[in-house]
C-alpha cells in the first residue's frame, strides 16, 4: 500500500505540473505577440527609437472581414536607450508578450547607420530569439515612416511580403541577400566589408511630380536614365505599393559610408560573384538611340586574383556571363553568326565600363573593399598575425585594377531574326 501511495503522489505532482498553465517555459501560442519587422531610428528624447510592426493573426488568417490589410498589422514606436529596454517598455502596453522569433526584417535609418550599428548587432546575435536570416535594411528616410508605409496588397501576411520582396535579388540584380548573419560575419572580418539593402518610401504621390534630379544618369554621361540609375525612393513610380528596394548601403565595419544605385549594385554583384540574373538594357552598338535588352545570367564564379606590385595591390577579376536576347529594337540581325560577335563585344565593353566606374568609385569615395578581394589574398600568408598586420582594408585604397568581362549570347528567344514591318507608301 505504501508503494501505491508513493506512486500516486508522484503521479499527482506530475499531472499538476502539466495542467497548470505556467509550467516554466510553457508559453501558449496565443499568449505571445509576434513582431514581423523592427525599425531603429535615432531617437529624439533618447538614444534609440524603436518601431515594431506587430502582426494581428486574427485578421491575417480570418478571411471573413475581407482581409483588410490595414488591420493585419499594428505599428508601435518607443524611445528607448537600448533594444531590450525598448522591449521592456513595449511589453508594458502590448497585451501579449513579445516574441522575437519571427522578425523578418531589421531596418536601420540612414542617420543611425552612419553612426555605427555594431553594438546593436552584437545584442541581436547573442539572443536566441532573432532569426539569423533576418534581412538588414537601411532606409534612406526614417525607419518609422518606412514601417508605417508597408501595406502589402498582394498578400495578407506581411511576413510573406518581406520575404518575397527581399528575395528579388535573384532576378533583378538591384539588391542583395543581406542576412543578419552574413552582415555580422563580414563586419568582423578583415577581408571584406558588409553591405546592406537600401530601401525607402517612394517620394512621388502622383505622376505629375516625377523628376529626374536625383537620378545618377548624368554622372554617367547618359542622355536618359537606364533602369538602374536610381537609388531607392527616387524611382519615378506611383501607386499603392510604396516601398522601393534598390541599391546598397556600404559599411565600414559597422558604420555606413556610402550608397550605391541600382546599376552599380548589379556590377558589385557581378564582381563579387553573387550575381544571379537581370535584364540588362544597353544602347544598340550601331544605332545608338535604340536599345538592346538582354537577359543576363552568371555563368561561372568570378575569378579574383590579387598581386602586390611595389607594395600596391593590383586586382584582377574575370567575370563570366551568359545571356539571352530579349529585344532588339533596331531590328538589325544580331542573331546571325556574323553579327553576334559584334553584339557580344559591345555588351562586354558596356559592362566593363560600368564595372570600372564602379570600382573607381569604391576606391575613391568609399575606400574599402566590399567585394572581397581580400579573401583571395589571404592564402598568401602563413599565420594570422601576418595577415592582421598587413591590414588589407586600409591598403585597398591604393589598388589598381584590371577587369575582364566575358559574355556569351546563347539563345535568341522565340524569334531568330526580325523581319521589318511593312508600311504602305503614303505617296
Amino acid at each position: 500500500m505504501k508503494k501505491y501511495k508513493f506512486f500516486a503522489v508522484i503521479l499527482i505532482v506530475c499531472l499538476q505540473c502539466n495542467m497548470l498553465t505556467g509550467c516554466f517555459d510553457r508559453k501558449e501560442l496565443d499568449d505571445m505577440a509576434y513582431p514581423i519587422a523592427l525599425g531603429f531610428d535615432k531617437g529624439q528624447t533618447n538614444e534609440l527609437r524603436m518601431t515594431l510592426q506587430l502582426a494581428v493573426p486574427v485578421n491575417i488568417a480570418g478571411g471573413e472581414s475581407g482581409g483588410d490589410v490595414d488591420k493585419s498589422v499594428i505599428v508601435v514606436t518607443v524611445d528607448t536607450p537600448t533594444i531590450y529596454s525598448g522591449l521592456n517598455m513595449l511589453n508594458s502596453f502590448v497585451s501579449k508578450q513579445i516574441h522575437l522569433a519571427h522578425i523578418k526584417a531589421i531596418i536601420f535609418s540612414e542617420e543611425l547607420a552612419k553612426e555605427g550599428i555594431s553594438k546593436y548587432l552584437h545584442a541581436m546575435i547573442r539572443n536566441k530569439g532573432f532569426r539569423p536570416n533576418a534581412h538588414v535594411i537601411v532606409s534612406r528616410g526614417s525607419a518609422e515612416e518606412f514601417i508605417g508605409a508597408v501595406k502589402p496588397k498582394l498578400e495578407t501576411n506581411p511576413a510573406k511580403y518581406y520575404e518575397q520582396l527581399l528575395s528579388g535579388y535573384k532576378y533583378t540584380g538591384f539588391t542583395t541577400d543581406s542576412q543578419l548573419i552574413s552582415f555580422y560575419h563580414e563586419s568582423e572580418s578583415a577581408a571584406i566589408q558588409p553591405v546592406a539593402v537600401l530601401a525607402d518610401v517612394s517620394r512621388y504621390k502622383s505622376t505629375e511630380e516625377f523628376d529626374l534630379k536625383q537620378s545618377t544618369y548624368m554622372e554617367k554621361g547618359r542622355k536618359q536614365p537606364l533602369e538602374g540609375d536610381f537609388k531607392a525612393g527616387d524611382l519615378p513610380k506611383t501607386g499603392e505599393l510604396k516601398i522601393e528596394v534598390m541599391g546598397l548601403a556600404i559599411f565600414n565595419g559597422g558604420q555606413m559610408i556610402g550608397e550605391l544605385d541600382g546599376q552599380e549594385t548589379t556590377y558589385h554583384l557581378m564582381v563579387e560573384g553573387k550575381f544571379n540574373s537581370t535584364f540588362l538594357t544597353m544602347p544598340d552598338p550601331i544605332k545608338s538611340d535604340e536599345f538592346i535588352i538582354l537577359d543576363v545570367r552568371r555563368s561561372r564564379m568570378t575569378k579574383k586574383k590579387v598581386e602586390m606590385v611595389n607594395g600596391k595591390p593590383k586586382l584582377h577579376a574575370k567575370v563570366s556571363l551568359e545571356s539571352d536576347i530579349l529585344s532588339i529594337q533596331s531590328g538589325i540581325n544580331y542573331e546571325s553568326m556574323d553579327n553576334i560577335g559584334k553584339l557580344e563585344s559591345a555588351v562586354e565593353q558596356f559592362i566593363k565600363k560600368g564595372i570600372n566606374r564602379y570600382l573607381n568609385k569604391s576606391i575613391n569615395e568609399c575606400g574599402t573593399d566590399t567585394i572581397g578581394f581580400g579573401k583571395a589574398l589571404k592564402g598568401k600568408f602563413l599565420t594570422w598575425k601576418e595577415w592582421e598586420e598587413f591590414d588589407w582594408l586600409s591598403k585597398y585604397k591604393e589598388s589598381t585594377f584590371d577587369v575582364e568581362v566575358d559574355v556569351k549570347i546563347r539563345r535568341p528567344g522565340l524569334i531568330t531574326k526580325t523581319v521589318p514591318e511593312v508600311k504602305c507608301n503614303k505617296k
Binding site: 506530475c14 502539466n18 510553457r26 508559453k27 501560442l29 505571445m32 491575417i60 511576413a159
Partner: protein, 617 residues
Amino acid sequence: MADFKKILKDLFVFKEPEKIEKFILKENKNGCDRCQKSGNVEGKKTESTEKETEKKEDRTDENNQKKEDSGSRKKGVKTTFAPIIQAGDNSKKKEDNSKVKQDKITKDVNKMSKVSNKLADNVAYLKNKYTLPDNGDVAIREFSITARDKTISACVIFIDGMVDRTVMDLAVLQPLMLLSNIEIKDNEQDIGLFVKNSLIPHNQIKILHELGKVVDEVNFGSCAVFVDGVDTAFTADVKGWQNRGVTNPNSEMVIRGPQEGFNEILRTNTALIRKILLDEDLIAENLSVGRRSKTPCALLYIKDIANDSLVDEVKRRLNGINIDYLFDSGELEQLLEDNSYQAVPQIIATERPDRVASMLTEGKVAVIVQGSPFVLVMPTTHIDLFHSPEDSYVRFPYANLLRIIRITAIVMALLLPGLYVAITNFHHEMIPTDLLFAIEASREKVPFPSLVEILIMELAFEFIREAGIRIPGPLGPTLGIIGGLILGQAAVAANIVSPILIIIVAVTGIGSFAIPNFSLGYAYRILRFVYIFLGATAGFFGITCGLFLQGIWLTSTKSFGVPFMAPMGPVTNGELADQIFRAPIWKQDKRPDFLNVKNNEKQPKISRQWQEDEKKK
C-alpha cells in the same frame, strides 16, 4: 385515517431495516459438499491426502443422503431434459432397501480408480462422478451385447451435444447391439479383445484402464463403452460438436494471400497448418493446461530447424502453469510472457495459418489453444511486430513502399500529438510564419490551454473507438467515423478546439489503425499519452527523454531468451534481408541469426536455377 397515521409513523419513526436475505456463499470448512459426493475432490488431490478423505467420507454420508433426496425432489423438473436417468432413479427408489448397500457402493466408488469388472460398479462410479441426476446432458445408455450366444450387458456414456450421434449410433451402438451376433470367424476367447478387434468398427479406439482418463476422454467428446466382465473401457472419438467453420480471419485482412483463418477447434487448426507445410518434421505435441479445464493445447515446431533449448523452455513454461481453467490463448499469453508490465507484447498472436507456417519455418515455436482462434508464436522481436502478412506475397517495390508507409504511420501514431504540443508550446520559432498565424488565429477563441484541448480530443476519439466496437451490425464502423467527424466539426464550431487539432488527432488515429499487430496498437495508444505529457512538460527535451527511456526499456527486454531489439539492438550476424526493408524473395538466403536455429540456410545462393541455366545457354 388509520392508514394515514401509519404512513406518518412509517416516515418519521425510526424502524430497523428489514432483513433481506441475499444469497451468501457458504465458506468451505469441510470442503464442498457436492464435491464430496461426486468424489471430484479426491480425484484431484494427491495420494497423500487420501486418508483424510476417507475420514471425511464417513461424516458426509448423511449429507450425501440429503442431497440424494433433494435430487429426487427436483426430479420432476428435470425429467424432460434428462430422459435417460432411469438408471439413476432406479437406484434411488431402492434407497430404503439397499441403504446399506448404497453406502457400501458409494464408499467403493469413491475409491475406484481403475475400471472394474462389474458393470454396476462402473455405472455407479460414473453417476457419482458426473452428479448424474443433476447433470442434464450426460447420458448413460445401457444395452446388451450378444456375442457367441452369450448376452453381456454393457453401457455407453457420452455427453449429449458434444458427440456426433449418427456416428455413435452407426459405429458403436449398432454393431454392438445388432451385428454382434453375426457369425465371426475369429476364434478369440477373450471378450474384451474380441469386442475391440471385431465389434466396434470405428477409426479411433482407445483401451483405458483408469477411470480418470475415461472421464477426461468423455469430457472432450468421446463416448466410453463399458462391458460387463471386462476390466477395461473402450473410448471412441466421436466428436461432433457445432462449431464455426473455417472463415476469413477477422483481424488481419490481406488482399493478396489466402483467406483462411483459424477457428476454435484444435484439430482443425493443426490441420490448417499441416496443409501448408506438408512436412513430416513438423511436430505437434499435445499438452493440457489447467487443472480442471484440462484444455488441450498443441505445441508446434519443426524438428530440425527450431532450437532445442527454445522448445524445452516453452514446454517447461507450459507445464509449469498451475491454474484452474484456461479460456483463451490471451490468458495463456499472459501466463507465458516474460514481462507482464511491459507495454509492448512479447508474443505474437495471429489468426492466419500462412503466417504461423512462415514463422515456423524461421525457427519459431507456435502454441495452439483449444477454443481460441488466435495462435501464439514465440519468440518475437520488435521488428516482427511491424510485419504484415502480406509483405511476402507482393512484389519487392510495393512491399518496401508499404513498409515505409507503415513505419511512418506508426511513428506518427506515437509521437505526433506530443510533437505538436512541444512545438506549439515551446519551440515557436520552428513553425513557418504563415502557419503560425493561422494556428494562432484559430486558437484565439479557444478557452483551454493546448494541452487540455488535445487531451479532450484524444479522449473523445478513444471513446468513439471503444463504443464503435460494441455497435452491432454494419452500422458500427460508419457510426464511428461519422461520430468522429460530427463531433470534431461541432467542437470546432463551438470554439472548444481549434481545427488543426482535429487533423492531428485524426491522423494519429488513422496511423494507429495502420499498426498490423493488434496488441502493439494498444501499446502505442497508451504510450502516446505519456508523450503528450512529456512534451507539455519540457518540449522536445522531454520527448527525447521519453524516447530514450522507452528505448532502454525495450532493449532490456527479452522474449524467450531473444533480445527484443535484435537484430539491431545487439548487432547479430544474420542477414537483414527481411527486417526493416525486404529484399527480393530469391535473395533471402538465410534465417535470422538471433534465433540460433539448427539449419541456417533457407535456400542456396542461387535460388532461381532457371536464370543460371539461361546464362549457361
